[in-house]
């Protein structure tokens, strides 16, 4: 049952998969980690992006990654509107944002799910591109190209976002608003505008993440339910709002999932991310790279 070769395979695939998990969690890391928005609809937006990419690929033959890039502005606008709505109805009134905020995003997630079903049906969908379906052989090991593509783009995306948050003026402003909103207001800046921008950015990243999602594996409308576990697991394990942490946590999850998958079979797969999430919440709620509040 257990062999070194198998473990080695699992490790390599796990790391590649882990970077992909980090990429799909980046947006949530900003929205939930930095802005404290209980964005349970994040995975639903992700699946929506995948379907948008599928649509562009199927009807116009656009390369999935290019399609992902094309829909980013749209998703940016989408994010701006979503945050404005959330702010006006919950944050501004300050009434019980906890309970109703979560319910609000769950409602949105359900609406997106059903709209996708009504438009595309419940069948699995996938994209066609040169790199989907081929593999790269090193000795006995077989690494699918689609995973390599996802890995490369995910790594680039993570680095870009980390640089953006630490080097640019707006990025630093976003981190400032996460630290102390009142202080920012006293300096004469408008924290709401910054948060709206950040939320837009977090949603825009989903355009490319959604392209990766459908490149890595076929998607179906209810896929977002599995990804609630994966994305929240990564973000909470990372420590809220830490981009490096997101990458590390993504890789830990990816490796753990692949190892369990090889040893025990696919039927246990959904429990891993949620199980790890429970453990992290119970043992180390501030995450690996978290700041204690």
């Amino acid at each position: 049952l257990f062999s070194f070769d198998l473990l080695q395979d699992a490790l390599v695939i796990g790391v590649l998969l882990g970077c992909f998990y980090a990429a799909v969690s980046l947006g949530l890391s900003v929205a939930f980690g930095l802005l404290d928005v209980p964005h349970v609809a994040h995975p639903a937006f992700l699946v929506l992006a995948s379907y948008a990419v599928y649509f562009l690929n199927e009807h116009f033959g656009i390369d999935p990654l290019l399609a992902g890039l094309l829909i980013t502005p749209l998703f940016f606008m989408f994010g701006l509107i979503a945050y404005r709505l959330y702010y006006e109805t919950f944050e501004k009134r300050g009434t019980d944002a906890g309970v109703r905020g979560i319910a609000f995003f769950f409602g949105i997630a359900f609406i997106i799910e059903v709209l996708i079903i009504l438009q595309f049906g419940v069948d699995q969908r996938s994209v066609t591109a040169d790199y989907v379906g081929k593999a790269w052989r090193i000795g006995d090991m077989r690494i699918p190209f689609r995973l390599l593509v996802a890995f490369a783009v995910a790594a680039a995306l993570t680095i870009l976002l980390t640089l953006y948050l630490s080097r640019t003026f707006m990025g630093r402003a976003i981190r400032a608003v996460a630290q102390d909103q009142e202080a920012l207001r006293l300096m004469g800046a408008n924290p709401i505008r910054i948060k709206q921008w950040a939320f837009g950015l977090a949603t825009a990243v989903l355009g490319i993440a959604g392209a990766l999602l459908i490149i890595v594996a076929p998607v179906e409308p209810t896929l977002d339910r599995t990804y609630i576990g994966r994305t929240f697991c990564v973000v909470v394990m990372a420590g809220l709002g830490s981009m490096t942490g997101t990458l590390v946590a993504g890789i830990i999850l990816g490796v753990a999932e692949t190892i369990v998958l090889t040893l025990f079979g696919a039927s246990w797969a959904p429990a891993i991310s949620f199980g790890m999430l429970l453990c992290v919440l119970a043992v180390r709620p501030q995450g690996l790279f978290g700041r204690l509040s």
Partner: protein, 319 residues
């Protein structure tokens, strides 16, 4: 207060009598099939509100409790051929234990972390059941209904009446909690847990009580579903739709009063039954999502809140 109590119990007896009469007079099976589901959601919503409404802990694990109820019944039927009352009582006991565990979770997490943890718990339990061959695994399991029990003409009609009994039980418990010091304690910890603890409210004990009662009722409501469907499989027994439906029903009805979830469940449950028959179950979920968002944005206090506003006085009135 006293007079209200008498009215409440007269209403409860009338409701049960009507349900019983219906099983004897109506011969068409469909009203019982549809009515059963609505009654089931009434129990689940009322039970959910004991923790989610009074204490403000948003439990997304309704489907976990419901599913465990279903599978407790499945296991008992398969292993011992246990009768329905035993299934329900054992399910309630297991639900109480699960509720206790959930209550311990509230020690370390609040707000969204608690909600996410309850979703996580649901999926972990679902996966375990999926991998448990004895109760059918991922493929599900067929269950034979026993012979009809007198005085009910059919098994579904009996289940309908049993679920009606559970509704009365759930509402009576919820109403008792709301009017007693337990309810006031839970409301105080919802508003400010630290302040409540400092003024001597035993927050942990109260949360545990709320979790145990809520969990036991949810599992009890799930137990008869195995016999109702004559079939159980993990992905539908633990479906997240139960959690979101129950959340929507409670919030749409309003969580400040025990009647809120009841109104919400009747309203949404009936709409869903009609839509499932006339259009499709997808549109059903769409309506659920849209109603949830509309109410959360437009009427945060639910129907109960709207009624109070129309009557022109604020909250705080007790029944």
């Amino acid at each position: 207060m006293k007079r209200n109590g008498i009215f409440f119990w007269i209403g409860a007896v009338l409701f049960l009598a009507a349900a019983l009469l219906m099983t004897q007079v109506v011969t068409n099976q469909y009203p019982f099939f549809a009515g059963y589901v609505i009654l089931q959601f009434m129990v689940l919503s009322v039970a959910w509100s004991i923790l989610g409404g009074y204490a403000g802990y948003v439990n997304f694990g309704t489907s976990a409790f419901f599913g465990i109820g279903v599978y407790t019944a499945v296991f008992l039927v398969k292993a011992f051929g246990a009768p329905l009352p035993v299934q329900i009582v054992v399910a309630a006991a297991i639900g109480a234990l699960m509720g206790f565990a959930l209550g311990l979770l509230t020690l370390r997490m609040q707000g969204i972390f608690f909600s996410i943890a309850t979703i996580a718990l649901t999926i972990v339990i679902e996966t375990t059941i999926t991998n448990w061959r004895y109760v059918g695994g991922a493929a599900g399991i067929q269950i034979q209904r026993p012979a009809v029990t007198e005085p009910f003409p059919s098994y579904v009609q009996m289940l309908f009446f049993v679920q009606a009994l559970l509704v009365v039980l759930a509402i009576a418990i919820s109403r008792y909690i709301q009017n007693s010091w337990i309810g006031r304690g839970l409301q105080s910890l919802r508003d400010d847990e630290l302040a409540a603890e400092c003024t001597g409210v035993p927050t942990l004990r109260l949360k545990l009580v709320a979790c145990v009662i809520s969990g036991a009722l949810m599992c009890a409501a799930g137990a008869p579903a195995a016999m109702y469907l004559q079939y159980a499989d993990p992905s539908s027994a633990f479906n997240l739709n139960y959690s979101v439906s129950v959340l929507a029903m409670s919030l749409i009805g309003g969580t400040a009063h025990w009647a809120g979830p009841v109104i919400g469940a009747i309203l949404l449950g009936t709409t869903q039954q009609l839509l499932t028959v006339t259009i499709s179950s997808e549109v059903n979920v769409l309506i659920l999502g849209v109603m949830l968002v509309l109410f959360v944005v437009g009427a945060p206090e639910g129907i109960i809140g709207l009624v109070r506003k129309l009557r022109g006085h604020g909250g705080g009135r007790r029944a």
